[in-house]
Symmetry: C2
Subunit: 141 residues, 2 copies
DNA sequence: AGATAAAAGGACTTTTTTATCCTTTATACA
DNA sequence: TGTATAAAGGATAAAAAAGTCCTTTTATCT
């Protein structure tokens, strides 16, 4: 479903949402260690998220990554599309160039409901709200 | 979700279910042309499916691929697991090593329905039945 | 101003996936 | 029995994804 980079991105964003803030930035090293993820690869991913204004960063001593108030309002759908492109939730499950409700591939019906469901959920939940649930339920990231 | 090889495999199997039979075998070349898929790559995929008894084949003149009566009773879940391994429908969407209903990742609830629903549908529908529907509704493969 | 810390960016390597080609084996049929 | 046909199998090539390293830029603090 998601590329490795996208998985790391989602986890990093959620980790930042829970553990960082403008006053408490986190460096790549810390995040990579906490998530048990390759450090340099994660650095690239955070760069990309930062360039696309999905996370915030500061250089220099006491610098690092965090989520601004604006960032917290975005959704994981934005993160996913930033990493894996805009078609993740629309592409045909069999890779057919044309596949829609009018012109469905043999698995369209089976795949549509579920994919669309995930899409909807990721789209309509703010990262900040998700983070609150994660804290409340003490979920691992 | 599925690897390219897996997508080709699903399409090839359905194509055989609709267009081939023991009395009317199809060669790689024909199938590849019909599906607009790389020929040699498809050959490898058909080999693998054949080795795992998900499709049938015959060498020599008037040889080719087809589905036996047994093959037709299998499900696309078998095809998918043959190509992408047994964990496709169980693996955590974020790649976490432990992720279950008891110990859910932050996206477990959202993803579970999606994956499990597709899994169920692919598992409980025989390839032969799917093929009938494809013919009836004149769907593209 | 100088030293240090951390992200940004570019270049590169490794691994995996996708795709191609060539040789061998099996079989049908004249 | 020889020839042609088609899958099976092995080896390799090309492309994409994952992962690493090095240099530059920006900021902080003394």
């Amino acid at each position: 479903m998601f590329s490795q980079a996208c998985k790391y991105a989602i986890r990093a964003v959620l980790y930042l949402a829970v553990h960082a803030s403008k006053g408490k930035k986190l460096g790549v090293k810390e995040i990579a260690a906490a998530l048990d993820v390759p450090k340099y690869f994660l650095a690239k991913i955070l760069q990309q998220l930062s360039r696309n204004n999905l996370i915030s960063s500061a250089k220099g001593p006491s610098g690092g990554f965090y989520l601004s108030e604006k960032n917290v309002e975005a959704s994981l759908k934005d993160v996913v599309e930033c990493m894996d492109g805009p078609d993740v939730f629309n592409a045909c499950i069999l890779g057919l160039p044309v596949c829609s409700s009018e012109n469905p591939c043999p698995l369209h019906i089976q795949a549509f409901a579920y994919r669309e469901g995930l899409h909807y959920q990721l789209k309509h939940q703010a990262i900040g709200d998700l983070a609150k649930r994660i804290e409340r339920e003490e979920q691992k990231i």
